[in-house]
Amino acid sequence: MKKIINHKEDVVEEMLQGMVKAHPEYLKRIDDSNVLVRKDAPIKGKVALVSGGGSGHEPAHGGFVGLGMLDGAAAGEVFTSPTPEQILKGIKAVDGGKGVLLIIKNYSGDVMNFEMAAELAQMEGIEVQQVIVNDDVAVEDSTFTVGRRGIAGTIFVHKIAGAAAEKGMDLDDVKRVAEKTIKNVKSMGMSLTPCVVPGVGKPSCEIGEDEMEIGLGIHGEPGIRKEKIKPAREIANILLSNILEDMKLEKDDEVAVMVNGLGGTPLMELYILNREVDNLLNEKGIKIYKTLVGEYMTSLEMAGASISVLKLDDELKQLLDAKADTPAFRIL
C-alpha cells in the first residue's frame, strides 16, 4: 500500500487539519469534531445545508463548504458514515434560525446516522429536513430494497440547493429544489483499478490487468459486471445508455453533464471521456447547457470515472449558474 500518509489511523484527522490549513479563508473546524463549516457560519436568516459521509471521497464534502453551497460537512472515517453526534455538532454550528437541510447519500449507514442526528437536533428545537440522493443507476431501483446509491450527482444537489438557500428561499423551497435535482440526476461509474482503504490495507476488489468494472460503487462495492477494457467511446456509451434509459430525455432537452474522476485517473482521460459523452448526447439531439470535468466525488486512489446527467429546467439552470465560492467549486 503506497500512500502519502503518516499512520493509517490518522488519515482523517490529518486530512481535515490539512484542509483547514489550506483553506482558512473558507473553512473552520468545529472543536472536538470532524465537522467543517463555513468560515462565516452560522448565517442568520439563511437556510443552512449540511452534508457529509465517509472520508475518502475528497473534495466531497468539505471541499464544497462555502458561499452558495454547503454550510457544513461532517466527515466520518474512511468510507464510514459520521456518527449522529458529529452530524449534530454540524447542524448546531450552522443553524441560522431558518432551519437546516441535510443532504444524505443513500447508504444505510449514512441514512441512519443522519436521521438520528436529525431527531436529536429536533429535540433541541432546530428545524431539520432531509433529502436522500440516489443517483446511481447501476443499482436496481426497487421499493423492496434500500434502492440506489448516492454518488457524484450529489454535487449537483449541493450546488443547486446551496444557491437556493443563498438566494433566501425558505426550508421547504430549498428542499423542493433539492428533491427536484435528485429526481432529475442520474449517474453511473466504472473503474480500472481498485482502491485501498488505509485501515484495511488490501484492495477493495480485484480487477484483472485487462479488465474494467462497470457500475461499481464509490466505496469499491462490486459493480454490475467485469469486462475486457474498452475504448473511451464504448465506455461512455455503456454508462450513458444506462443513464438515459432511466431518464427518458427527449430531443432538445437541456442537461448538465459531470465527468467525474475517481481519484487515480488523470484529467487527460476525463477530457477524452467527455468528448465521447458530448458526441453521444449531440447525436441524440440533447443539449448540453453546462459541463463539469474533474474530481468531485472520488474513491481514494481508484482509477476510473463516473458520468452524471442532470435534466434542467429554467429554475435549475439559474441556480446552477449562481455564484459559488468554495475550496473545490467556484463560479464567478
Binding site: 465517509g54 466520518g76 472515517e77 468510507f79 464510514t80 458514515s81 459520521p82 456518527t83 449522529p84 453526534e85 458529529q86 447508504y107 444505510s108 449507514g109 441512519m112 446516522n113 436521521e115 438520528m116 447501476a138 443499482v139 436496481e140 423492496f144 430494497t145 434500500v146 446509491r149 482503504v197 485501515g199 484495511v200 488490501k202 477493495s204 460503487g217 466505496h219 469499491g220 462495492e221 462490486p222
Partner: protein, 210 residues
C-alpha cells in the same frame, strides 16, 4: 435474579470476542459490503471497554444506555445506529433496576428487535442482523414459555442465532450495502448477523461461568 455486575461481565466479554473477530467480520464485509464491519464494531467496543469502570455499580438501564450512546457516537456506519438503538431501547425497560428477571430479559430482547426494525426499516429475511436476532429472540421466548432456565434459554437462543447466520447465506440482501449486489449477494454470509451471533455467544460464555 441477575444483578448488574453480570451485565458488565457480559459487555466486557462481547467486546473481547468482537475484537478477536475483527478481521473475520471485516473479511465477511469485504465480500458483500465495504470491508469495515469488524473495524466498526471493534472501534465501538473498544470505546465501550474504556467505560467499563464507570459502569461499575450502576443499574441495568444506565449501563445499557452507556453502551448504546458509546456505540452510536463512535461506530458510524450502519451497525452503529442499529446496535446503538437496540441497546438504547433495551435500556428503557430496565431503567433504574439493579436486578432483573426473565420478564425483563424478554422485554429487553423484544425492544432490541423492535429498535433495529424501526431504525433499519428492515425485517427477518433481509439478510441482516435481524436474521440472527429475531430467531434468537423467538427461541429464548419459547424456552422461557416452556419453563427452561435462563442458561438453557440462552443456549437455545445461541443455536437459533447460528442457524440464522447460516440462513443468511441462502438469501438475497434487501437492506444494507449488500443489497446493491442483488442476486450476487446469495452464497455469502451476512457480517451483521455474524456479529449478533458472536454477541449472543458472549452472553452464554458469561452465564456458563456464573
Amino acid at each position: 435474579m441477575c444483578n448488574s455486575n453480570i451485565l458488565i461481565k457480559i459487555i466486557e466479554n462481547m467486546g473481547k470476542n468482537i475484537i478477536e473477530n475483527k478481521d473475520y467480520l471485516t473479511e465477511l464485509d469485504r465480500v458483500i459490503g465495504d470491508a469495515d464491519h469488524g473495524i466498526n464494531m471493534s472501534k465501538g467496543f473498544s470505546a465501550v471497554d474504556a467505560k467499563l469502570d464507570e459502569m461499575n455499580g450502576k443499574d441495568w438501564g444506565s449501563i445499557l444506555k452507556t453502551v448504546a450512546m458509546t456505540l452510536i457516537s463512535t461506530v458510524g456506519g450502519a451497525s452503529g445506529p442499529l446496535y446503538g438503538t437496540a441497546f438504547l431501547r433495551a435500556s428503557t425497560v430496565v431503567d433504574g433496576k439493579m436486578e432483573i428477571d426473565k420478564e425483563d430479559i424478554i422485554n429487553m430482547f423484544e425492544q432490541a428487535v423492535e429498535g433495529i426494525k424501526m431504525r433499519g426499516k428492515s425485517d427477518k429475511g433481509d439478510k441482516t442482523i435481524l436474521d440472527a436476532l429475531i430467531p434468537a429472540f423467538e427461541a429464548l421466548k419459547l424456552a422461557y414459555e416452556e419453563g427452561k432456565d435462563t442458561k438453557t434459554a440462552f443456549k437455545m437462543a445461541e443455536e437459533a442465532a447460528l442457524e440464522g447466520v447460516e440462513y443468511t447465506k441462502n438469501i438475497i440482501a434487501k437492506k444494507g450495502r449488500a443489497s446493491y449486489l442483488g442476486e450476487r449477494s446469495i452464497g455469502h454470509q451476512d457480517p451483521g448477523a455474524t456479529s449478533t451471533y458472536i454477541m449472543i455467544k458472549s452472553i452464554n460464555e458469561v452465564l456458563e461461568q456464573n
